[in-house]
Amino acid sequence: MPEQSIDDIRRMIARHKLRDHIFAIVGILSLMVGILTLLALFTELAIEGAPRIGWKLFASFPSRHPEEAGILSAWVGTTLIMLVTAASAVPLGVASAVYLEEYARKNWLTAIIEINVTNLAGVPSIVYGLLALGLFVYKLDFGQSILSAGLTLALLILPIVIVSAREAIRAVPGSIREAAYALGATKWQTVRDHVLPYSLGGILTGTIMGLSRAIGETAPVITIGALTFIAFLPQSPFSGDFPFVSFRWLMDPFTVMPIQMFNWTSRPEAAFQHNAAAAGVILLVMTLIMNGIAIYIRYRFRKRIKW
């Protein structure tokens, strides 16, 4: 080996250190690309949408005149569909997670279910739309209704709910379960009275994250045949006569926020772009609020529970 002078070694170290610094700068720049895009997106939407955002936007139906067009049918549709989605995805997802974590024996069937949940998370969302079109709309004859859309989005977010609920359940220490068994509780009593209450935070976080994904989903809802122009509301869930609650709205046609925005974006008239931007701002704010709540709940539950 040729002799290296101390200066050579120093120079080599300096060179490598320089590379370290250069990479740190490249890293920050890469992060900046993402953050700046996000900022540009927010500013663009806010500037373009500002003239339309106001009470009138929420209280008006879509219209051919951009100044009068609003998102009333869209936000009502989105809210009702989210109700259906939450009501079906949460019980199904939590039950699956409880089974996989607490009951499942280690066998090939469990392995298949686990691999399957992972794979479902990677299925393109539009394929769920096709599934719903073939299954819910035609085979089960639910039609192009709020029910079909809600169930579609429920299937779409099911993997998210299952995975987060499993993580939350796994985080409950075994000693809690053993204490319950020692007092003679059955498996279900242990799960219901101890495991589920402790994992509630994680389950809520995952559910809200899933719903915030569902709120922005456009493609599957278009595929099942949401209307882009809808100037009436679904039937009211509350009625004057007994039993005061009606579920006929489940079968009504609908539109949702992202479809309304898509519709305005694809209009040739420039004035509608302002409406699209305004709808985008509201959609983004909804997503933001939901994510914010999810992060807050995660934080609160982490802080409160100390094993």
Binding site: F23, V26, G27, L120, L158
Partner: protein
């Protein structure tokens, strides 16, 4: 005998309890099976609805015809134009997302101070949570005009701007999954590297990336699946004309954009147009599946066992 009676009472109750436990376990099991049923339903619906199409159109025509015009009088059913659109937008997106995502993952894992990480990560999560229709609007209204200043000949609808925005959308997924994989590399391996006098950059490139390769590959595959299946950005910003080209400056439709375009119109159940969207969906699933299998074997081939 009183004690016997009490025993009977308890055994009756315990039988009831056992029955109830069994019922509950069965219900939970059925719920867990629902995800398998979903997969099964997806595959069977796509196949069942595609079969009539392939009775009408020979598979060879489907794979080799250079035109896709199923709703015209002169109908052609070649998947190649839609496939080309999907591959070009995916390639553009990955050219953005893979370098950026990997660099961000390395930076967050090895370089960034703790404070910076805690501040930056929620922003990245937020970038991943933006609805795709909003990204589509952004690509059409903001990114395309900016690109047109650089490339004056660029048409209003083009795959370049859709692909670029899609790439930015995928960055958070790739960054966070690769970062998790990098964090899972055992600390003693890193410490060994540092003890030998390696810099952080050397450790990242020669130790962390090879050790975490299977996880990083999984992140890339996830990114590819996202890009292939992404719909709204391309439907809004790339135009909806099937166009057999590999030039990202041109407008073109992707498989998913075609499905959306046809769904927006009135589509009678059982018509050839109705069948084509299921065929398109089946093709989309097959592409995703191929990438997933490739990724699985890549990950297996390079998996490091500690």
């Amino acid at each position: 005998m009183p004690s016997n009676k009490a025993n009977n009472k308890y055994s009756g109750r315990s039988r009831l309890r056992r029955v109830r436990e069994f019922i509950i376990e069965s219900v939970l099991f059925l719920a867990a099976l629902s995800s398998v049923a979903t997969t099964f339903a997806i595959v069977s619906i796509l196949v069942i609805e595609s079969i009539p199409f392939f009775r009408h159109v020979p598979l060879l025509d489907f794979l080799t015809d250079a035109q896709w015009t199923p709703l015209f009088d002169d109908a052609h059913y070649g998947i190649m134009p839609l496939m080309a659109g999907t591959l070009v937008t995916t390639a553009v997106a990955l050219l953005v997302a893979i370098p950026l995502g990997t660099i961000i993952a390395i930076y967050l894992c090895e370089f960034a101070p703790h404070r910076v990480r805690e501040i930056i990560k929620p922003f990245l999560e937020l970038l991943g949570a933006v609805p795709t229709v909003v990204f589509g609007y952004f690509a059409l209204i903001f990114v395309t005009p900016v690109l047109q200043k650089l490339i004056p000949a660029l048409p209003g609808f083009n795959m370049l701007s859709a692909g670029l925005v899609m790439g930015i959308m995928i960055v958070p997924y790739i960054a966070s999954v690769s970062e998790d994989a990098m964090h899972a590399v055992p600390k003693h391996i890193l410490e060994g590297s540092y003890a030998m006098g390696a810099t952080r950059f050397q450790t990242a490139v020669r130790v962390i990336i090879p050790s975490a390769f299977s996880g990083i590959a999984a992140a890339y595959i996830l990114g590819i699946s996202r890009a292939v299946g992404e719909t709204m950005i391309v439907a809004i910003a790339a135009g909806q004309q099937p166009n057999l080209t590999l030039n990202p400056m041109e407008p073109a439709a992707t498989i998913s954009a075609y499905i959306v375009q046809v769904s927006l119109g009135d589509l009678p159940h059982g018509s050839i147009g109705y069948q084509t969207i299921f065929v398109a969906g089946l093709s989309l699933m097959l592409i995703t599946l191929i990438f997933n299998i490739v990724g699985y074997f890549l990950a297996k081939r390079f998996r490091e066992v500690y």
